[in-house]
């Protein structure tokens, strides 16, 4: 047996992506598509695929697989596939169309994404993402997605998230909604055609693995409580990210890690769980009742100026009465060349430091000002209204303050998870027949995601990548039929039933939400914007204690055979507890700062993130070895053949 390192984990054999062909980067995808086996159209109907999740990744995959003639069974936990959390994306979607002739290209998008990810993503995957990006826009336009247009009738683009080219396509502040409705309508068309069977209000609670292959799932009907078995030749998870681990995040109330975590427990490795993204411009917490946080588009930083009072004694004052010389526009001061437009992680951390120093404003002292007074003076109120009117209205709706008159208050919030199930170039996990798409996988963003790239990845995976790679696997099918009485099926169903029975019979003293809130506080404190050896060690201990208490002390009322949201949440929080521990262990073991992962011990003299490429130029793929056993780390070495590794600088 290998030694336990730091008392927390073991190291196993390295892991490799064996699917990406070598050779010139711009030929790899073409080669793979050519080499992947084909499935005769007449056989597709006999091949069944389960797709869990109908967001951009899952919705697009269902529609495309259905059109190709496969027999698709789709699942989502909301009452309609149109409500997946992709709907909430505001800013836009990147694509290397170079419509502006400003020097953009597939290679530049690839380069920016690798660099933005702080050199912790695979080159082959990222290049493919950039390569298919242009087809996404074509597809969406043909479906009727109403992107913003210029007076010429041609598509408009803007620059987003600090990149120097304009490659972001958008539909006002509702890009995710419009893209998702496009995918949803394509999906509904297949529902009508009979190729996709849609199961809404169904939650996946377990994966079924038979003879080493993913062959099905166990779900709970969220209306009747019925525990159902669904079997197929392959399973796709497109279940989104796990930012909800933190309780307070910009994710939807139901976002969860249950599908991916259950698969992890059945053998799928989890990649880079500690890579989370914190968004600098969210509306701050207003009180203990807070249930989620609302993102205010990053575009606000183009014209708003961020500041705090120089003197902590001024925190309670009306900001309008604080004279110019008593304000600290700290981003402009520390980063003179990028100013308020520094990348998300830097802006977030800087806000935290100001608040830690006692200069934070608003309830609890966790907020900084985002001030539009100068912009209004310079461009006039009307222009500011045209640019940001809907955001200002939303802010006023939520806070009751009018941002035209008084500065907004903002604070960072957890927003996105780069980590996810480990997949190879084919998007296949370490369980044969289990594919993972969209935010649920770890594939393309390394340690940090650029703005407008998640929508691109979700749709790239769903429309173009997965349908081409899954056929290589399905070509060997249909696989032998699995009877309902197969031991793996019975065992999976029983596990689900036992968990439900446990929650309903525990009759403890604390609600699920109260545990979830406490878990979130631990993570935010110790595994949020800044992480330290001591803090993470403490977090692991606290999470373990909380988890033990959870199983003994949670109170879930009502029964199984009814709509029971406490019961739904109980299962999700149980999985969050285990994932949270792995996240802290991953953060502990990665003793470097990179992208969204900032280890206080690893910084330059002037306080910037310091990568350690010698020791950590790898993706961490974690293997489950039991709920109370140390996980096993498998390293996937990252090699950069086309982009040179550099240290970021924004000064």
């Amino acid at each position: 047996m290998v030694d336990v390192i730091d008392g927390l984990y073991r190291e196993g054999t390295p892991i490799k992506d064996t699917k990406a062909p070598g050779g010139p980067i711009d030929k790899r995808w073409e080669t793979r598509k050519f080499e992947a086996k084909l499935v005769n159209p007449a056989n597709r109907r006999k091949l069944s695929v389960i797709v869990v999740g109908t967001g951009l990744a899952g919705g697009a995959a269902c529609a495309t697989l259905g059109e190709a003639g496969y027999n698709v069974k789709a699942f989502c936990y909301q009452d309609s596939p149109r409500r997946a959390h992709s709907i909430a994306a505001q800013g836009g979607i990147n694509a290397a169309k170079n419509y502006k002739e400003d020097g953009d290209s597939v290679f530049r998008l690839f380069y920016d994404t690798v660099k933005g990810g702080d050199y912790r993503a695979r080159e082959s995957n990222v290049y493919r993402l950039a390569e298919v990006s242009a087809s996404i826009i074509d597809q969406c336009v043909a479906q009727g997605v109403p992107f913003a247009r210029e007076y010429s009738g041609l598509l408009d683009n803007r620059s987003f998230g600090g990149v120097q080219v304009s490659r972001t396509f958008y539909a006002r502040g509702q890009t995710g909604q419009q893209l998702l409705i496009g995918a949803y309508q394509a999906l509904q068309r297949q529902v009508a055609a009979g190729t996709v069977q849609m199961n809404s209000r169904h939650e996946m609670l377990e994966l079924i693995v038979v003879d080493g292959r993913a062959r099905g799932i166990v779900t709970r009907d969220m209306v009747t409580g019925e525990i159902e078995t669904h079997l197929a030749d392959a399973v796709v998870l497109a279940t989104g990210g796990y930012a909800n681990l933190f309780f307070l995040s910009t994710n939807a109330m139901g976002c969860n890690a249950t599908a991916t975590w259950r698969a992890h427990r059945k053998g799928a490795y989890f990649g880079n769980p500690c890579f989370t993204q914190i968004h600098p411009t969210c509306i701050p917490v207003s009180g203990d009742h807070q249930s989620k946080l609302t993102l205010m588009s990053e575009s606000l930083r183009n014209d708003g100026r961020i500041w705090v009072p120089k003197d902590p004694a001024d925190r309670e004052k009306d900001p309008r009465t604080i004279p110019e010389q008593d304000r600290d526009y700290y981003l402009e001061r520390i980063y003179p060349s990028f100013g308020n437009l520094v990348p998300r992680d830097i802006a977030s951390r800087a806000a935290k430091y100001q608040c830690d120093a006692g200069k934070g404003v608003g309830p609890g002292g966790r907020g900084v000002y985002l001030d539009f007074a100068d912009a209004i003076a310079r461009f006039g109120r009307k222009t500011v209204e045209e640019r940001y009117g809907n955001l200002f209205d939303m802010y006023q709706q939520i806070t009751g303050d009018n941002p035209y008159e008084t500065p907004m208050r903002i604070y960072p919030a957890v927003h996105y998870t780069m980590g996810g199930l480990w997949v190879d170039y084919d998007l296949q996990s370490t369980i044969p027949g289990l594919f993972v798409a969209g935010e649920a996988n770890f594939s393309d963003h390394g340690a940090n995601r650029l703005g407008a790239s998640a929508l691109m990845q979700g749709l790239a995976d769903g429309y173009f990548v997965l349908p081409n790679t899954i056929r290589d696997y399905l070509a060997a099918g249909p696989f032998p039929e699995v009877p309902d009485s197969a031991p793996a099926v019975v065992e999976a169903r029983e596990a689900v039933q036992q968990r439900i029975d446990h929650f309903l019979s525990t009759k403890g003293t604390r609600s699920v939400d109260s545990f979830h809130r406490e878990l979130g506080q631990i993570l935010w404190e110790y595994c949020g914007m800044e992480r330290t050896e001591a803090g993470l060690t403490k977090a692991v201990e606290q999470i373990r204690a909380l988890r033990a208490d959870y199983w003994k002390n949670v109170r879930v009322l009502g029964g199984n055979e009814q709509v029971n949201q406490s019961l739904e949440k109980a299962g999700r929080v149980a999985d969050f507890m285990e994932l949270a521990e792995l996240m802290c262990i991953d953060a502990l073991h990665r003793r470097e700062s990179c992208g969204g992962h900032f280890r206080a011990e690893s910084q330059t003299e002037d306080g910037e993130a310091l990568r350690d490429d010698e020791a950590f130029a790898y993706a961490a793929a974690w293997e489950f070895s039991g709920p109370d056993a140390p996980p096993v780390l498998h390293k996937e070495e990252l090699v950069y053949e086309f982009v040179e590794m550099k240290q970021r600088s924004y000064k």
Partner: protein, 247 residues
């Protein structure tokens, strides 16, 4: 703030429901309406009473999952979704009645949760443009005048919440369908199927048991996304074209 609540409780689809009274003593005006219900639920759980079931997901006014009838109005007193309504819209000691989005085609599943799947089936009947993945031409091949693109966007903003149906005395889903046929009908890509789309969607609408439109206008007043009432005129106009073509 102190708030009195009268909330519809119904154990299941076939159970009889009733309004039950609750009282909250410590409501902050900064709470969202749904956070106020979260607080109530925490109190109920602490007392050993089953919490009130209600739907929500994004809590940002965009997914369309939430939707309660508040003092008789779907989504309450303001032009926004239930999740974006805040307690500062109410007064200390107010009594608030909360009911599900009621309509015959939307049966109650439990408490405030209803089944809105008929809206998905209406979209499946024809609310799309038939273009399979990979079959799309270059995006700039067909310019779309900004005016049409903007109107397409305005109507594509529908979140499928069903408030229009609950507001309508006839339980018609015409605003919902009007929004979709206008969205797709404004775009060149939507033309080939335009005439057939509307007939298929309306047939499904009727089959689901929604009622007919009698121009009341309550739908547009209730719509959190301000879908304009005139999409229904557009729908009628397009329908006449379809009928002339014998579809």
């Amino acid at each position: 703030m102190k708030i009195n609540l009268k909330i519809w409780r119904q154990a299941g689809p076939n159970a009889t429901g009733k309004l039950v009274t609750y009282r909250l003593d410590d409501v902050s005006p900064d709470m969202s309406f749904l956070e106020m219900l979260d607080v109530l639920n925490e109190q109920l759980i602490a007392k050993g009473e089953e919490p009130v079931e209600f739907d929500s997901d994004c809590r940002e006014g965009i997914c369309g999952m939430c939707g309660l009838v508040i003092n008789g109005e779907p989504h309450g007193p303001r032009v926004t979704t239930t999740c974006q309504l805040h307690m500062r819209s109410f007064k200390d000691c107010d009594t608030i009645t909360i009911e599900p989005l009621r309509a015959d085609p939307f049966p109650v599943l439990r408490d405030l949760v209803v089944d809105r799947s008929p809206l998905d089936r209406i979209i499946a009947a024809g609310g799309f443009i038939s273009v399979s993945t990979g079959a799309a031409p270059e995006a700039h091949a067909t310019p779309v005048p900004k005016k049409n693109a903007d109107r397409a966007f305005d109507t594509a903003a529908c979140i499928g919440c069903g408030a229009c149906v609950a507001a309508c005395p006839n339980a018609a889903a015409m605003l919902f369908i009007g929004a979709k046929v206008t969205h797709l009908g404004e775009l060149p890509q939507g033309q080939p199927e335009r005439a057939a789309r509307i007939v298929k969607m309306l047939n499904q609408h009727d089959a689901e048991g929604f009622g007919g439109c009698t121009n009341v206008g309550a739908c547009a007043d209730a719509c959190p996304k301000s879908i304009p009432f005139d999409v229904i005129s557009q729908l009628n106009k397009d329908l006449r074209t379809s009928l002339v073509r014998g579809l």
